[in-house]
């Protein structure tokens, strides 16, 4: 039995856009990404808007077509090659891989009761025989998400943001998935509630043996919940490492800049040293060489000419021509 639940190699997702008369441009949302997600891990994926993190998550759920490369899923019971899934296998994969959305206000139908919202996946996928069994499964998962019988009879509008997100979680988990992609699942919540939902996700992971891919732009949240983190920029994977290694000694200049951009709670902490200028380039108009060179304070000629490959050292991968040199120059 392999240790990894998901193994993606050279995965790309390209969208054709704005068909001119002769030229069809390609939007490279995810380009040549290789990642491995271990069973039972909480895998964090960070990056700015437009970095391709959501598209990567969706590709692994088979919700957007994979353009090239491979993604292998193996949970010990079944093994699938995601780029070739169809028919009954795809249907089965849908019960094993699920998504929790960002906005709990938009994700729940206002016309359905909470019970019906949570039961819908079971009915659509035909996973239960009869209403009694459906009700039992709904009640069980609702209880795990701290929703009681009284809650199940009500409509979403009667709930607060935190409660709604617990309903979304119950709906995602009711089919008994092994792999769950949580896409910015706490971003819309207030801090006081956010911690509660994060603790619940961790607890469910333990109890149900889930593997999470946790997509977020909030590094402090990722640092506290994930055991492995991957950083994306403009469709590329630029750095990946166990959380502690990454946060103790980030190697990529972009990761370092991300860290220093987090507003500190200490009013006297003036982190102006590594502020990034400019913005992420458009994915349809990507710079040559390293994708980060337009904003990188350390870019030299080779960065403009050649795209760096991912280099591994001590289980910590980074795609930067100068990382070693920079680590010795600038103490992290």
């Amino acid at each position: 039995m392999s240790r990894s639940l998901i193994q993606a190699t050279g995965l790309s997702v390209h969208f054709p856009i704005g068909s001119g008369l002769f030229v069809k441009q390609l939007l490279k949302a995810v380009d040549n990404v290789s990642i491995e997600i271990e069973k039972g891990s909480f895998f964090g994926l960070v990056g700015e808007s437009g970095s391709g993190k959501t598209t990567l998550g969706r590709a692994l759920l088979n919700a957007v077509p994979i353009s090239s490369g491979t993604a292998h899923y193996d949970d010990g019971e079944v093994a699938y090659d995601l780029q070739e899934l169809d028919g009954a296998e795809l249907k089965d994969y849908r019960t094993r891989a699920q998504l929790i959305f960002q906005d709990p206000y938009a994700a729940l139908s206002p016309r359905m009761t909470v019970r019906d919202i949570i039961a819908e996946p079971l009915e659509v996928m035909g996973l239960t025989k009869g209403r009694a069994e459906t009700d039992e499964r709904v009640r069980e998962i609702a209880a795990r998400c701290r929703l009681n019988l009284e809650h199940l009879r009500r409509f979403p509008h009667a709930f607060s943001g935190g409660q709604r997100q617990r309903i979304s979680i119950a709906r995602a988990l009711v089919s008994g998935p092994k792999f769950v992609v949580a896409d910015e699942s706490v971003a819309a919540l207030d801090v006081s509630i956010q911690a509660d939902v994060l603790n619940l996700l961790k607890q469910l992971q333990d109890e149900l043996g889930l593997t999470f891919m946790f997509i977020s732009h909030d590094l402090s949240v990722v640092a506290h919940t994930c055991d492995h983190v991957a950083v994306m920029y403009l469709g590329r994977l630029i750095e990946t490492a166990p959380t502690r290694k990454l946060f103790e000694a980030p190697r990529h200049p972009y990761t370092k800049a991300l860290f220093s951009a987090i507003p500190s709670l200490d009013p006297d902490d003036d982190k102006t040293a590594q502020k990034l200028a400019g913005e992420i380039p458009s994915p349809t108009d990507q710079p040559p060489g390293c994708k980060f060179q337009t904003r990188c304070p350390h870019a030299i000629d080779i960065c403009k000419a050649e795209e760096p490959a991912l280099q591994t050292e001590d289980g910590h991968d980074v795609a930067c021509h100068r990382w070693k040199e920079l680590m010795s120059l600038v103490p992290a």
Partner: protein, 331 residues
């Protein structure tokens, strides 16, 4: 320092089908000239409604209590904001002496009118500039907030600008009328963290350059720590703690403020467990009696928390808190 705007006993309710809903209750504060005040609280705490009251901008079904008073000090004397009625009078607080930056810059610009035209329009409305002057002032402001190639951007539409750029244009537009008070409602929430850092730096620069007062509304205590001089913490329509930013963040006194800070994931200590504030903010239709925080408070001291609304206790000259824990200490 002279006061810029004084809010006294502001109480605001909305008339709805389900009855009167209290959004803001007995809120008082004073903002000095050139001061940056952070207004913090979770969704539903009434921070945006409070800010909009300063411009008399709340929906038609808003009912202000008779004791509510908002006084804006302008060069031509004090203005009683809540007594303004006609559009001409209201112009003073809507884009004249007070400007506002909203959270979602895409939604705040009209999509079918160029950025430049919108900037010029408000300058013509609020000053006696000619069209030509208004245009050059606008381009100058766009340049000042760090938009490269400002003359070209002036003729572009909001959709042609990136998120960070749009927020800069929004700031340029808000500042071009030279307001004495700027209200920024979650101006960086929709932005990426690297862009947020740029916008925060920009706003800091502008404060020292233009010297206007700023009310910075946010739910992010980190952003407040980096921008504000003073913080007001709101919960369910009430001001629960008020003080200098260092004091409130390093030495929070209200159980809610303490809870907010404890709930923040901290990068310095990855092993620290995340501690949520238990429970959810109650619906405004079910406001608790006594202290509004009593349904989630872990430090309830006794019957008075359930029955009596805590009064404001001054801990020292600048730091005050509305909580029964500190009542005896203050007496």
């Amino acid at each position: 320092m002279t006061p810029l705007i004084e809010v006294e006993s502001l109480t605001l309710q909305f008339r709805t089908d389900e009855g009167l809903i209290t959004a803001v209750e007995d809120v008082s504060f004073t903002l000095m000239k050139g001061e940056v005040m952070g207004l913090v609280g979770e969704s539903g705490s009434g921070k945006s409604v409070t800010a909009k009251s300063l411009m008399h901008l709340n929906a038609r079904n808003a009912v202000y209590s008779p004791e509510s008073r908002i006084t804006l000090h302008t060069d031509t004397g004090p203005v009683d904001v809540l007594s303004l009625r006609t559009p001409r009078e209201l112009n003073v607080v809507r884009g004249g002496a007070i400007s506002m930056i909203f959270q979602e810059p895409m939604a705040s610009f009209a999509p079918a009118i160029t950025i430049g035209k919108q900037m010029v329009e408000q300058l013509l409305l609020h000053s006696d500039m000619s069209k030509g002057t208004a245009k050059s002032v606008s381009i100058e402001m766009l340049d000042r907030v760090g938009i490269s190639d400002a003359a070209r951007r002036f003729d572009q539409y909001a959709f042609e600008l990136s998120g960070g750029m749009r927020q800069r244009a929004m700031i340029a537009m808000a500042l071009s009328t030279n307001p004495s008070l700027l209200i920024a409602d979650e101006p960086t929430t929709a932005l990426d963290v690297t862009i947020q850092a740029q916008v925060i730096d920009l706003m800091k620069d502008l404060v020292s350059e233009f010297g206007m007062g700023i009310i910075f509304i946010t739910h992010d205590l980190g952003v407040v720590a980096q921008t504000a001089d003073r913080v007001n913490v709101m919960y369910l329509g009430r001001l629960v703690e008020e003080g200098p930013v260092r004091e409130v963040i390093r030495n929070p006194r209200h159980p809610y403020t303490q809870g907010l800070i404890a709930a923040l994931p901290k990068l310095e200590d990855l092993d620290a467990p995340l501690t949520p504030v238990p429970g959810d903010i109650p619906s405004p239709l079910e406001r608790p009696a006594g202290c509004v925080f009593n349904t989630r408070c872990s430090q309830v001291v006794g019957e008075e928390c359930m029955a009596l609304v805590p009064t404001n206790c001054r801990l020292d000259e600048t730091h005050s808190v509305a909580c029964h824990i500190y009542r005896e200490a203050a007496e």
